[in-house]
Amino acid sequence: MHLSPLAALLADVGLPEDPAARFIRLLTVFLLAMWVGFEVITKVPQRLHTPLTSGSNAISGITAVGAIVVAGAMATRFGTLLGFLAVVLAMINVVGGFVVTHRMLEMFQPKRK
Protein backbone atom coordinates (compact mmCIF):
# COMPACT_ATOMS: atom_id res chain seq x y z
CA MET A 1 0.00 0.00 0.00
CA HIS A 2 1.17 3.47 -0.92
CA LEU A 3 1.79 6.23 1.60
CA SER A 4 -0.33 9.30 1.99
CA PRO A 5 1.52 12.66 1.89
CA LEU A 6 1.34 12.95 5.66
CA ALA A 7 2.83 9.52 6.17
CA ALA A 8 5.44 10.20 3.51
CA LEU A 9 6.40 13.44 5.26
CA LEU A 10 6.67 11.72 8.60
CA ALA A 11 8.67 8.96 6.94
CA ASP A 12 10.97 11.68 5.56
CA VAL A 13 11.81 12.84 9.03
CA GLY A 14 12.08 9.29 10.31
CA LEU A 15 8.65 9.14 11.96
CA PRO A 16 6.34 6.65 10.17
CA GLU A 17 2.63 7.34 10.77
CA ASP A 18 1.65 4.68 13.26
CA PRO A 19 -1.41 2.57 12.44
CA ALA A 20 -3.49 3.98 15.26
CA ALA A 21 -2.89 7.51 14.06
CA ARG A 22 -3.82 6.51 10.53
CA PHE A 23 -7.04 4.94 11.72
CA ILE A 24 -7.95 8.02 13.74
CA ARG A 25 -7.25 10.22 10.74
CA LEU A 26 -9.68 8.26 8.59
CA LEU A 27 -12.17 8.00 11.45
CA THR A 28 -12.08 11.79 11.75
CA VAL A 29 -12.88 12.14 8.07
CA PHE A 30 -15.64 9.53 8.33
CA LEU A 31 -17.38 11.18 11.27
CA LEU A 32 -17.09 14.69 9.85
CA ALA A 33 -18.46 13.49 6.51
CA MET A 34 -21.40 11.73 8.21
CA TRP A 35 -22.14 14.94 10.08
CA VAL A 36 -21.99 17.07 6.96
CA GLY A 37 -24.20 14.49 5.29
CA PHE A 38 -26.86 14.72 7.99
CA GLU A 39 -26.81 18.51 7.98
CA VAL A 40 -27.09 18.86 4.22
CA ILE A 41 -29.50 16.05 3.44
CA THR A 42 -32.11 16.81 6.07
CA LYS A 43 -32.77 20.01 4.10
CA VAL A 44 -33.89 18.15 0.97
CA PRO A 45 -37.70 18.44 0.60
CA GLN A 46 -39.87 15.34 0.42
CA ARG A 47 -40.76 15.72 -3.23
CA LEU A 48 -37.10 15.45 -4.17
CA HIS A 49 -36.46 12.33 -2.14
CA THR A 50 -36.50 10.09 -5.20
CA PRO A 51 -33.79 12.01 -7.10
CA LEU A 52 -31.92 12.19 -3.80
CA THR A 53 -31.99 8.42 -3.49
CA SER A 54 -30.96 8.05 -7.11
CA GLY A 55 -28.22 10.71 -6.93
CA SER A 56 -26.71 9.36 -3.74
CA ASN A 57 -26.81 5.92 -5.34
CA ALA A 58 -24.71 7.26 -8.22
CA ILE A 59 -22.18 8.73 -5.81
CA SER A 60 -21.87 5.41 -3.98
CA GLY A 61 -20.19 4.25 -7.20
CA ILE A 62 -17.08 6.06 -5.85
CA THR A 63 -15.90 2.57 -5.10
CA ALA A 64 -14.77 2.65 -8.75
CA VAL A 65 -11.78 4.66 -7.52
CA GLY A 66 -10.64 1.73 -5.39
CA ALA A 67 -11.38 -0.64 -8.25
CA ILE A 68 -9.23 1.39 -10.67
CA VAL A 69 -6.29 1.39 -8.27
CA VAL A 70 -6.40 -2.35 -7.57
CA ALA A 71 -7.08 -3.33 -11.19
CA GLY A 72 -4.54 -0.89 -12.60
CA ALA A 73 -1.84 -2.22 -10.32
CA MET A 74 -2.13 -5.65 -11.98
CA ALA A 75 -0.32 -7.22 -9.06
CA THR A 76 -1.78 -10.72 -9.49
CA ARG A 77 -3.96 -12.32 -12.17
CA PHE A 78 -6.90 -13.14 -9.93
CA GLY A 79 -6.69 -9.78 -8.17
CA THR A 80 -6.71 -8.01 -11.52
CA LEU A 81 -9.72 -10.04 -12.68
CA LEU A 82 -11.65 -9.08 -9.57
CA GLY A 83 -10.59 -5.49 -10.02
CA PHE A 84 -11.69 -5.49 -13.65
CA LEU A 85 -15.14 -6.79 -12.69
CA ALA A 86 -15.31 -4.24 -9.92
CA VAL A 87 -14.58 -1.42 -12.37
CA VAL A 88 -17.32 -2.63 -14.72
CA LEU A 89 -19.91 -2.93 -11.94
CA ALA A 90 -18.98 0.35 -10.32
CA MET A 91 -19.16 2.19 -13.66
CA ILE A 92 -22.62 0.75 -14.31
CA ASN A 93 -23.58 2.15 -10.93
CA VAL A 94 -22.03 5.55 -11.62
CA VAL A 95 -23.17 6.19 -15.18
CA GLY A 96 -26.57 4.55 -14.72
CA GLY A 97 -27.10 6.47 -11.50
CA PHE A 98 -26.30 9.93 -12.87
CA VAL A 99 -28.31 9.38 -16.06
CA VAL A 100 -31.39 8.13 -14.16
CA THR A 101 -31.17 11.07 -11.77
CA HIS A 102 -30.94 13.45 -14.68
CA ARG A 103 -34.00 11.92 -16.37
CA MET A 104 -35.93 12.17 -13.14
CA LEU A 105 -35.01 15.77 -12.56
CA GLU A 106 -35.91 16.68 -16.12
CA MET A 107 -39.47 15.65 -15.32
CA PHE A 108 -39.62 18.09 -12.46
CA GLN A 109 -38.80 21.09 -14.61
CA PRO A 110 -41.65 23.45 -15.51
CA LYS A 111 -42.39 23.00 -19.19
CA ARG A 112 -41.72 25.88 -21.47
CA LYS A 113 -44.77 26.08 -23.75
Partner: protein, 476 residues
Protein backbone atom coordinates in the same frame (compact mmCIF):
# COMPACT_ATOMS: atom_id res chain seq x y z
CA UNK B 1 4.31 18.92 -4.55
CA UNK B 2 4.52 15.19 -4.99
CA UNK B 3 2.11 13.54 -7.37
CA UNK B 4 0.30 12.00 -4.41
CA UNK B 5 -0.33 15.51 -3.15
CA UNK B 6 -1.96 16.46 -6.47
CA UNK B 7 -4.03 13.28 -6.38
CA UNK B 8 -5.24 14.05 -2.89
CA UNK B 9 -6.05 17.59 -3.95
CA UNK B 10 -8.16 16.17 -6.76
CA UNK B 11 -9.92 13.89 -4.28
CA UNK B 12 -10.58 16.92 -2.10
CA UNK B 13 -12.08 18.79 -5.04
CA UNK B 14 -14.27 15.77 -5.85
CA UNK B 15 -15.46 15.60 -2.23
CA UNK B 16 -16.38 19.27 -2.27
CA UNK B 17 -18.29 18.80 -5.52
CA UNK B 18 -20.24 15.88 -4.01
CA UNK B 19 -21.22 17.98 -1.00
CA UNK B 20 -22.30 20.83 -3.24
CA UNK B 21 -24.33 18.36 -5.32
CA UNK B 22 -26.28 17.36 -2.23
CA UNK B 23 -26.71 20.96 -1.16
CA UNK B 24 -28.18 21.83 -4.53
CA UNK B 25 -30.70 19.00 -4.21
CA UNK B 26 -32.97 21.33 -2.26
CA UNK B 27 -34.88 22.59 -5.31
CA UNK B 28 -35.76 21.06 -8.70
CA UNK B 29 -33.88 23.54 -10.86
CA UNK B 30 -30.73 23.68 -8.75
CA UNK B 31 -30.81 19.90 -8.44
CA UNK B 32 -30.09 19.53 -12.16
CA UNK B 33 -26.92 21.60 -11.76
CA UNK B 34 -26.10 19.63 -8.63
CA UNK B 35 -26.32 16.39 -10.57
CA UNK B 36 -23.89 17.72 -13.19
CA UNK B 37 -21.49 18.82 -10.47
CA UNK B 38 -21.72 15.44 -8.78
CA UNK B 39 -20.89 13.78 -12.09
CA UNK B 40 -17.98 16.19 -12.57
CA UNK B 41 -16.70 15.33 -9.10
CA UNK B 42 -16.88 11.65 -9.96
CA UNK B 43 -14.95 12.25 -13.21
CA UNK B 44 -12.23 14.12 -11.31
CA UNK B 45 -11.95 11.31 -8.75
CA UNK B 46 -11.78 8.63 -11.43
CA UNK B 47 -9.06 10.43 -13.36
CA UNK B 48 -7.09 10.97 -10.18
CA UNK B 49 -7.38 7.28 -9.41
CA UNK B 50 -5.66 6.50 -12.71
CA UNK B 51 -2.70 8.58 -11.52
CA UNK B 52 -2.24 6.71 -8.25
CA UNK B 53 1.19 5.22 -7.78
CA UNK B 54 0.30 1.51 -8.13
CA UNK B 55 -1.20 2.27 -11.54
CA UNK B 56 1.63 4.56 -12.62
CA UNK B 57 4.31 2.14 -11.43
CA UNK B 58 2.76 -0.61 -13.53
CA UNK B 59 2.46 1.80 -16.45
CA UNK B 60 6.15 2.61 -16.19
CA UNK B 61 7.26 -1.01 -16.03
CA UNK B 62 4.83 -2.70 -18.43
CA UNK B 63 3.52 -0.04 -20.75
CA UNK B 64 -0.01 1.14 -21.30
CA UNK B 65 -1.64 -2.32 -21.04
CA UNK B 66 -3.26 -1.52 -17.72
CA UNK B 67 -4.71 1.77 -18.92
CA UNK B 68 -6.19 0.04 -21.95
CA UNK B 69 -7.72 -2.58 -19.69
CA UNK B 70 -9.15 0.08 -17.40
CA UNK B 71 -10.52 1.92 -20.40
CA UNK B 72 -12.24 -1.19 -21.68
CA UNK B 73 -13.75 -1.96 -18.29
CA UNK B 74 -14.87 1.63 -17.89
CA UNK B 75 -16.48 1.77 -21.31
CA UNK B 76 -18.29 -1.55 -20.85
CA UNK B 77 -19.67 -0.39 -17.51
CA UNK B 78 -20.61 3.04 -18.82
CA UNK B 79 -22.41 1.65 -21.86
CA UNK B 80 -24.37 -0.88 -19.81
CA UNK B 81 -25.24 1.76 -17.22
CA UNK B 82 -26.30 4.35 -19.77
CA UNK B 83 -28.38 1.84 -21.73
CA UNK B 84 -30.16 0.66 -18.60
CA UNK B 85 -30.83 4.20 -17.48
CA UNK B 86 -32.08 5.41 -20.85
CA UNK B 87 -34.07 2.40 -21.96
CA UNK B 88 -35.82 1.31 -18.81
CA UNK B 89 -39.25 2.93 -18.42
CA UNK B 90 -39.40 5.54 -15.69
CA UNK B 91 -42.13 3.61 -13.97
CA UNK B 92 -39.59 0.88 -13.29
CA UNK B 93 -37.31 3.40 -11.69
CA UNK B 94 -37.45 2.07 -8.10
CA UNK B 95 -36.26 -1.36 -9.14
CA UNK B 96 -33.58 0.08 -11.38
CA UNK B 97 -32.19 2.22 -8.57
CA UNK B 98 -32.19 -0.94 -6.43
CA UNK B 99 -30.24 -2.88 -9.05
CA UNK B 100 -27.67 -0.14 -9.68
CA UNK B 101 -27.21 0.15 -5.95
CA UNK B 102 -26.52 -3.56 -5.69
CA UNK B 103 -23.81 -3.37 -8.34
CA UNK B 104 -21.98 -0.74 -6.27
CA UNK B 105 -22.10 -3.01 -3.24
CA UNK B 106 -20.72 -5.93 -5.25
CA UNK B 107 -17.91 -3.71 -6.57
CA UNK B 108 -16.86 -2.84 -3.01
CA UNK B 109 -16.73 -6.52 -2.04
CA UNK B 110 -14.64 -7.32 -5.11
CA UNK B 111 -12.24 -4.44 -4.40
CA UNK B 112 -11.63 -5.64 -0.85
CA UNK B 113 -11.29 -9.22 -2.09
CA UNK B 114 -8.77 -8.16 -4.71
CA UNK B 115 -6.73 -6.14 -2.23
CA UNK B 116 -6.71 -9.10 0.15
CA UNK B 117 -5.63 -11.48 -2.61
CA UNK B 118 -2.81 -9.16 -3.66
CA UNK B 119 -1.71 -8.60 -0.09
CA UNK B 120 -1.66 -12.32 0.75
CA UNK B 121 0.23 -13.07 -2.46
CA UNK B 122 2.86 -10.47 -1.56
CA UNK B 123 3.03 -11.75 2.01
CA UNK B 124 3.56 -15.30 0.77
CA UNK B 125 6.65 -14.14 -1.08
CA UNK B 126 8.16 -12.63 2.08
CA UNK B 127 7.05 -15.09 3.70
CA UNK B 128 5.27 -13.45 6.59
CA UNK B 129 1.62 -13.86 7.51
CA UNK B 130 -0.51 -10.73 7.37
CA UNK B 131 -0.80 -9.21 10.86
CA UNK B 132 -4.15 -9.84 12.53
CA UNK B 133 -6.57 -7.21 13.78
CA UNK B 134 -5.16 -4.42 11.66
CA UNK B 135 -7.24 -1.69 10.06
CA UNK B 136 -6.72 -3.54 6.77
CA UNK B 137 -8.04 -6.85 8.12
CA UNK B 138 -11.05 -5.42 9.91
CA UNK B 139 -12.02 -3.06 7.11
CA UNK B 140 -11.66 -5.88 4.55
CA UNK B 141 -13.96 -8.13 6.58
CA UNK B 142 -16.57 -5.40 6.96
CA UNK B 143 -16.42 -4.33 3.33
CA UNK B 144 -16.86 -7.91 2.14
CA UNK B 145 -19.84 -8.42 4.43
CA UNK B 146 -21.66 -5.15 3.78
CA UNK B 147 -21.07 -5.29 0.04
CA UNK B 148 -22.40 -8.86 -0.19
CA UNK B 149 -25.50 -8.06 1.87
CA UNK B 150 -26.10 -4.99 -0.28
CA UNK B 151 -25.73 -6.81 -3.60
CA UNK B 152 -28.00 -9.74 -2.83
CA UNK B 153 -30.48 -7.66 -0.86
CA UNK B 154 -30.74 -5.35 -3.85
CA UNK B 155 -31.27 -8.24 -6.24
CA UNK B 156 -34.14 -9.53 -4.11
CA UNK B 157 -35.56 -6.02 -3.87
CA UNK B 158 -35.38 -5.73 -7.66
CA UNK B 159 -37.21 -9.05 -8.05
CA UNK B 160 -39.94 -7.98 -5.63
CA UNK B 161 -40.45 -4.63 -7.29
CA UNK B 162 -40.52 -6.24 -10.74
CA UNK B 163 -43.16 -8.51 -9.21
CA UNK B 164 -41.38 -11.64 -10.35
CA UNK B 165 -43.60 -14.57 -9.32
CA UNK B 166 -41.40 -16.25 -6.69
CA UNK B 167 -40.54 -13.01 -4.96
CA UNK B 168 -43.74 -11.07 -5.00
CA UNK B 169 -45.13 -12.53 -1.80
CA UNK B 170 -43.32 -11.96 1.45
CA UNK B 171 -41.48 -15.03 2.65
CA UNK B 172 -43.35 -16.01 5.76
CA UNK B 173 -41.82 -19.37 6.65
CA UNK B 174 -41.78 -19.45 10.47
CA UNK B 175 -38.28 -20.95 10.35
CA UNK B 176 -36.96 -17.77 8.88
CA UNK B 177 -36.02 -16.30 12.24
CA UNK B 178 -33.87 -19.29 13.16
CA UNK B 179 -32.30 -19.23 9.72
CA UNK B 180 -31.48 -15.56 10.08
CA UNK B 181 -30.12 -16.13 13.55
CA UNK B 182 -27.95 -18.98 12.33
CA UNK B 183 -26.62 -16.89 9.47
CA UNK B 184 -25.98 -13.96 11.79
CA UNK B 185 -23.94 -16.15 14.13
CA UNK B 186 -21.99 -17.58 11.21
CA UNK B 187 -21.38 -14.03 9.99
CA UNK B 188 -19.97 -12.90 13.33
CA UNK B 189 -17.71 -15.93 13.52
CA UNK B 190 -16.42 -15.38 10.01
CA UNK B 191 -15.83 -11.65 10.58
CA UNK B 192 -13.80 -12.63 13.63
CA UNK B 193 -12.02 -15.25 11.55
CA UNK B 194 -11.00 -12.81 8.83
CA UNK B 195 -9.81 -10.25 11.35
CA UNK B 196 -7.81 -12.84 13.27
CA UNK B 197 -6.42 -14.60 10.21
CA UNK B 198 -6.31 -12.23 7.26
CA UNK B 199 -3.90 -14.48 5.35
CA UNK B 200 -6.79 -16.82 4.64
CA UNK B 201 -8.61 -15.80 1.48
CA UNK B 202 -10.92 -18.74 2.04
CA UNK B 203 -12.32 -17.20 5.21
CA UNK B 204 -12.98 -13.95 3.37
CA UNK B 205 -14.93 -15.59 0.57
CA UNK B 206 -16.84 -17.77 3.04
CA UNK B 207 -17.82 -14.54 4.76
CA UNK B 208 -18.96 -13.14 1.40
CA UNK B 209 -21.07 -16.26 0.74
CA UNK B 210 -22.70 -16.18 4.17
CA UNK B 211 -23.23 -12.43 3.83
CA UNK B 212 -24.87 -13.02 0.46
CA UNK B 213 -27.25 -15.55 2.01
CA UNK B 214 -28.03 -13.11 4.80
CA UNK B 215 -28.74 -10.40 2.23
CA UNK B 216 -31.34 -12.67 0.65
CA UNK B 217 -32.94 -13.93 3.83
CA UNK B 218 -33.22 -10.46 5.34
CA UNK B 219 -34.94 -9.04 2.28
CA UNK B 220 -37.18 -11.95 1.27
CA UNK B 221 -39.69 -11.58 4.14
CA UNK B 222 -40.40 -7.95 3.40
CA UNK B 223 -43.66 -7.09 1.66
CA UNK B 224 -44.10 -4.65 -1.20
CA UNK B 225 -45.42 -1.80 0.88
CA UNK B 226 -42.33 -1.80 3.07
CA UNK B 227 -40.03 -1.63 0.07
CA UNK B 228 -39.36 2.13 0.37
CA UNK B 229 -37.66 1.50 3.70
CA UNK B 230 -35.58 -1.36 2.33
CA UNK B 231 -34.46 0.63 -0.72
CA UNK B 232 -33.25 3.47 1.48
CA UNK B 233 -31.48 1.08 3.83
CA UNK B 234 -29.71 -0.74 1.00
CA UNK B 235 -28.74 2.63 -0.46
CA UNK B 236 -27.15 3.46 2.87
CA UNK B 237 -25.35 0.12 3.02
CA UNK B 238 -23.74 0.61 -0.38
CA UNK B 239 -22.37 3.93 0.86
CA UNK B 240 -21.07 2.35 4.04
CA UNK B 241 -19.46 -0.44 1.99
CA UNK B 242 -17.66 2.18 -0.07
CA UNK B 243 -16.54 3.97 3.09
CA UNK B 244 -15.27 0.70 4.56
CA UNK B 245 -13.36 0.06 1.32
CA UNK B 246 -11.81 3.49 1.92
CA UNK B 247 -10.48 2.20 5.23
CA UNK B 248 -9.07 -0.85 3.41
CA UNK B 249 -7.00 1.16 0.94
CA UNK B 250 -6.52 4.31 3.03
CA UNK B 251 -8.40 6.52 0.61
CA UNK B 252 -10.20 9.59 1.94
CA UNK B 253 -12.50 10.24 -1.03
CA UNK B 254 -14.05 6.77 -0.62
CA UNK B 255 -14.61 7.46 3.03
CA UNK B 256 -16.12 10.90 2.42
CA UNK B 257 -18.39 9.99 -0.50
CA UNK B 258 -19.38 6.71 1.18
CA UNK B 259 -20.28 8.53 4.39
CA UNK B 260 -22.39 11.12 2.56
CA UNK B 261 -24.35 8.36 0.87
CA UNK B 262 -24.55 6.32 4.07
CA UNK B 263 -25.95 9.31 5.95
CA UNK B 264 -28.43 10.06 3.17
CA UNK B 265 -29.78 6.50 3.20
CA UNK B 266 -30.06 6.41 6.98
CA UNK B 267 -31.97 9.70 7.10
CA UNK B 268 -34.44 8.55 4.46
CA UNK B 269 -34.87 5.20 6.24
CA UNK B 270 -35.69 7.01 9.48
CA UNK B 271 -38.16 9.30 7.70
CA UNK B 272 -39.90 6.34 6.05
CA UNK B 273 -40.21 4.44 9.33
CA UNK B 274 -41.60 7.50 11.04
CA UNK B 275 -44.11 7.95 8.24
CA UNK B 276 -45.34 4.41 8.75
CA UNK B 277 -45.15 4.69 12.54
CA UNK B 278 -43.18 1.49 12.65
CA UNK B 279 -39.73 0.84 14.00
CA UNK B 280 -36.98 -0.31 11.65
CA UNK B 281 -36.78 -3.60 13.54
CA UNK B 282 -40.50 -4.00 13.04
CA UNK B 283 -40.15 -3.55 9.29
CA UNK B 284 -37.14 -5.86 8.95
CA UNK B 285 -38.12 -8.63 11.31
CA UNK B 286 -41.76 -8.18 12.15
CA UNK B 287 -43.55 -8.66 8.90
CA UNK B 288 -47.22 -7.81 9.21
CA UNK B 289 -49.16 -9.97 11.61
CA UNK B 290 -52.80 -10.57 10.82
CA UNK B 291 -53.97 -9.77 14.30
CA UNK B 292 -56.99 -7.73 13.40
CA UNK B 293 -60.31 -9.14 14.52
CA UNK B 294 -62.37 -7.71 11.67
CA UNK B 295 -62.76 -9.87 8.58
CA UNK B 296 -63.56 -8.56 5.15
CA UNK B 297 -67.17 -9.76 5.28
CA UNK B 298 -67.87 -8.05 8.59
CA UNK B 299 -66.54 -4.79 7.29
CA UNK B 300 -68.01 -4.76 3.81
CA UNK B 301 -71.26 -6.77 3.89
CA UNK B 302 -74.09 -4.76 2.44
CA UNK B 303 -72.38 -1.43 2.94
CA UNK B 304 -70.31 -1.10 -0.20
CA UNK B 305 -71.93 1.15 -2.80
CA UNK B 306 -70.62 1.03 -6.30
CA UNK B 307 -71.20 3.62 -8.98
CA UNK B 308 -70.75 4.08 -12.71
CA UNK B 309 -68.68 6.67 -14.51
CA UNK B 310 -71.75 8.76 -15.33
CA UNK B 311 -72.94 8.84 -11.71
CA UNK B 312 -69.52 9.88 -10.50
CA UNK B 313 -69.25 12.49 -13.24
CA UNK B 314 -72.47 14.07 -11.97
CA UNK B 315 -70.91 14.25 -8.53
CA UNK B 316 -67.80 15.87 -9.96
CA UNK B 317 -69.75 18.44 -11.98
CA UNK B 318 -70.89 20.07 -8.75
CA UNK B 319 -67.55 19.89 -7.00
CA UNK B 320 -65.55 23.02 -6.23
CA UNK B 321 -62.64 21.26 -4.60
CA UNK B 322 -61.31 17.88 -5.64
CA UNK B 323 -58.36 16.05 -4.14
CA UNK B 324 -56.78 13.11 -5.90
CA UNK B 325 -54.94 10.51 -3.83
CA UNK B 326 -52.48 8.50 -5.94
CA UNK B 327 -51.08 5.17 -4.84
CA UNK B 328 -48.93 2.38 -6.18
CA UNK B 329 -51.88 1.11 -8.21
CA UNK B 330 -51.70 4.30 -10.26
CA UNK B 331 -48.14 3.44 -11.26
CA UNK B 332 -49.10 -0.12 -12.12
CA UNK B 333 -52.07 1.02 -14.21
CA UNK B 334 -49.92 3.70 -15.87
CA UNK B 335 -52.84 6.04 -15.48
CA UNK B 336 -50.96 9.21 -14.59
CA UNK B 337 -51.54 10.88 -17.95
CA UNK B 338 -55.25 10.02 -17.80
CA UNK B 339 -55.35 11.61 -14.36
CA UNK B 340 -53.85 14.81 -15.69
CA UNK B 341 -56.56 15.00 -18.33
CA UNK B 342 -59.26 14.40 -15.75
CA UNK B 343 -57.80 17.17 -13.62
CA UNK B 344 -57.70 19.48 -16.64
CA UNK B 345 -61.37 18.72 -17.39
CA UNK B 346 -62.28 19.49 -13.78
CA UNK B 347 -60.28 22.69 -13.73
CA UNK B 348 -61.98 23.84 -16.91
CA UNK B 349 -65.22 23.71 -14.92
CA UNK B 350 -63.67 25.95 -12.29
CA UNK B 351 -62.84 23.31 -9.69
CA UNK B 352 -59.58 23.32 -7.73
CA UNK B 353 -57.69 20.08 -8.06
CA UNK B 354 -54.90 19.06 -5.72
CA UNK B 355 -53.01 15.87 -5.07
CA UNK B 356 -52.43 14.36 -1.62
CA UNK B 357 -49.13 12.52 -1.41
CA UNK B 358 -48.62 10.16 1.50
CA UNK B 359 -44.92 9.75 2.39
CA UNK B 360 -44.91 5.99 1.80
CA UNK B 361 -47.28 5.86 -1.15
CA UNK B 362 -45.60 3.92 -3.90
CA UNK B 363 -42.47 1.80 -3.71
CA UNK B 364 -39.83 4.47 -3.13
CA UNK B 365 -39.71 7.76 -1.25
CA UNK B 366 -41.14 10.39 -3.55
CA UNK B 367 -42.33 7.76 -6.04
CA UNK B 368 -45.71 9.48 -6.56
CA UNK B 369 -44.05 12.84 -7.09
CA UNK B 370 -41.92 11.45 -9.89
CA UNK B 371 -44.89 9.61 -11.43
CA UNK B 372 -47.06 12.70 -11.49
CA UNK B 373 -44.19 14.87 -12.68
CA UNK B 374 -43.81 12.50 -15.62
CA UNK B 375 -47.37 13.39 -16.56
CA UNK B 376 -46.51 17.10 -16.45
CA UNK B 377 -48.62 17.73 -13.38
CA UNK B 378 -47.26 20.95 -11.85
CA UNK B 379 -45.54 20.21 -8.59
CA UNK B 380 -47.24 23.06 -6.74
CA UNK B 381 -50.42 20.98 -6.83
CA UNK B 382 -48.78 18.11 -4.95
CA UNK B 383 -49.42 18.54 -1.25
CA UNK B 384 -47.78 16.68 1.58
CA UNK B 385 -49.87 14.70 4.06
CA UNK B 386 -49.60 17.02 7.07
CA UNK B 387 -50.29 19.97 4.81
CA UNK B 388 -53.44 18.65 3.19
CA UNK B 389 -55.06 16.63 5.99
CA UNK B 390 -56.77 19.64 7.62
CA UNK B 391 -58.40 20.54 4.29
CA UNK B 392 -60.33 17.32 3.78
CA UNK B 393 -63.50 18.46 5.61
CA UNK B 394 -63.84 21.27 3.05
CA UNK B 395 -63.13 18.96 0.13
CA UNK B 396 -66.14 18.08 -2.00
CA UNK B 397 -64.79 14.95 -3.65
CA UNK B 398 -61.73 12.83 -3.01
CA UNK B 399 -60.70 10.43 -5.76
CA UNK B 400 -58.52 7.58 -4.47
CA UNK B 401 -56.65 5.81 -7.25
CA UNK B 402 -54.59 2.75 -6.49
CA UNK B 403 -54.08 3.65 -2.84
CA UNK B 404 -55.44 1.57 0.00
CA UNK B 405 -53.59 1.31 3.29
CA UNK B 406 -52.58 4.98 3.30
CA UNK B 407 -56.27 5.98 3.44
CA UNK B 408 -57.44 3.24 5.80
CA UNK B 409 -59.15 4.80 8.85
CA UNK B 410 -58.51 1.59 10.83
CA UNK B 411 -55.04 3.01 11.48
CA UNK B 412 -56.74 5.71 13.55
CA UNK B 413 -59.60 3.77 15.04
CA UNK B 414 -58.49 0.18 15.56
CA UNK B 415 -55.61 -0.40 17.98
CA UNK B 416 -55.36 -4.08 17.02
CA UNK B 417 -54.87 -3.38 13.35
CA UNK B 418 -51.45 -4.14 11.81
CA UNK B 419 -51.35 -0.55 10.62
CA UNK B 420 -52.49 0.97 13.93
CA UNK B 421 -50.91 4.30 14.62
CA UNK B 422 -49.65 4.83 11.08
CA UNK B 423 -50.32 8.41 10.01
CA UNK B 424 -52.82 8.35 7.13
CA UNK B 425 -54.60 10.69 4.79
CA UNK B 426 -57.91 11.51 6.47
CA UNK B 427 -59.96 11.23 3.31
CA UNK B 428 -62.93 9.78 5.19
CA UNK B 429 -63.47 13.31 6.52
CA UNK B 430 -64.19 14.67 3.07
CA UNK B 431 -67.74 15.17 1.87
CA UNK B 432 -67.65 12.38 -0.73
CA UNK B 433 -65.03 9.79 -1.52
CA UNK B 434 -64.66 7.89 -4.79
CA UNK B 435 -62.38 4.86 -4.69
CA UNK B 436 -61.13 3.57 -8.02
CA UNK B 437 -60.18 -0.05 -7.64
CA UNK B 438 -60.45 -3.25 -9.60
CA UNK B 439 -62.00 -5.20 -6.72
CA UNK B 440 -62.27 -5.30 -2.95
CA UNK B 441 -58.96 -7.16 -2.64
CA UNK B 442 -56.77 -5.92 0.22
CA UNK B 443 -53.63 -3.85 -0.08
CA UNK B 444 -50.27 -5.10 1.12
CA UNK B 445 -51.30 -4.94 4.74
CA UNK B 446 -53.77 -7.67 3.85
CA UNK B 447 -56.60 -6.12 5.83
CA UNK B 448 -60.05 -4.81 4.93
CA UNK B 449 -60.52 -1.07 4.61
CA UNK B 450 -63.58 0.41 6.38
CA UNK B 451 -63.33 3.42 4.08
CA UNK B 452 -64.85 1.32 1.29
CA UNK B 453 -67.95 0.66 3.40
CA UNK B 454 -68.41 4.22 4.64
CA UNK B 455 -71.61 6.09 3.94
CA UNK B 456 -69.97 8.86 1.96
CA UNK B 457 -67.88 6.50 -0.16
CA UNK B 458 -68.63 5.30 -3.66
CA UNK B 459 -66.63 2.46 -5.13
CA UNK B 460 -65.78 2.69 -8.80
CA UNK B 461 -64.83 -0.83 -9.82
CA UNK B 462 -62.78 -0.57 -12.97
CA UNK B 463 -59.23 -0.79 -14.24
CA UNK B 464 -57.33 2.36 -13.28
CA UNK B 465 -56.53 3.85 -16.67
CA UNK B 466 -59.81 2.97 -18.36
CA UNK B 467 -61.69 4.10 -15.28
CA UNK B 468 -60.20 7.57 -15.43
CA UNK B 469 -60.57 7.89 -19.19
CA UNK B 470 -64.25 6.92 -18.95
CA UNK B 471 -64.73 9.42 -16.16
CA UNK B 472 -63.12 12.18 -18.19
CA UNK B 473 -65.33 11.52 -21.22
CA UNK B 474 -68.42 11.32 -19.02
CA UNK B 475 -67.54 14.77 -17.72
CA UNK B 476 -67.29 16.34 -21.13
Amino acid sequence: MSSQAWINLAYLAASMLFIVAFKLMTGPRTAVKGNYLGAAGMAVALLAACCESPVVTRLASHGTGNLVMLGIAGVIGAVIGATMALKYPMTGMPQMVALLNGFGGAASTLVAGAELWNATAAARVAPTPLPAWTQFAIATALTGLIGAVTFWGSLVAFAKLEELPRFKQAWTDPNRHSINLGLAVATLLLVWGVCANPSSNLLYWLLVIVGSALGCTLTMPIGGADMPVVICLLNSYSGLAAAAAGFVIDNAVLVIAGSLVGASGLILTAIMCQAMNRSLAGVLFGGLGTTTAASADDVYAGKVKSASAEEIAMLLEEADRVVIVPGYGLAVAQAQHAVRELAAALEKRGATVEYAIHPVAGRMPGHMNVLLAEADIPYEKLREMDDINPTFPETDVVIVIGANDVVNPAARTDPTSPIAGMPILDVDKAKRVVVVKRSLSPGFAGIPNPLFAADNTLMYFADGKKAILDLTSALR
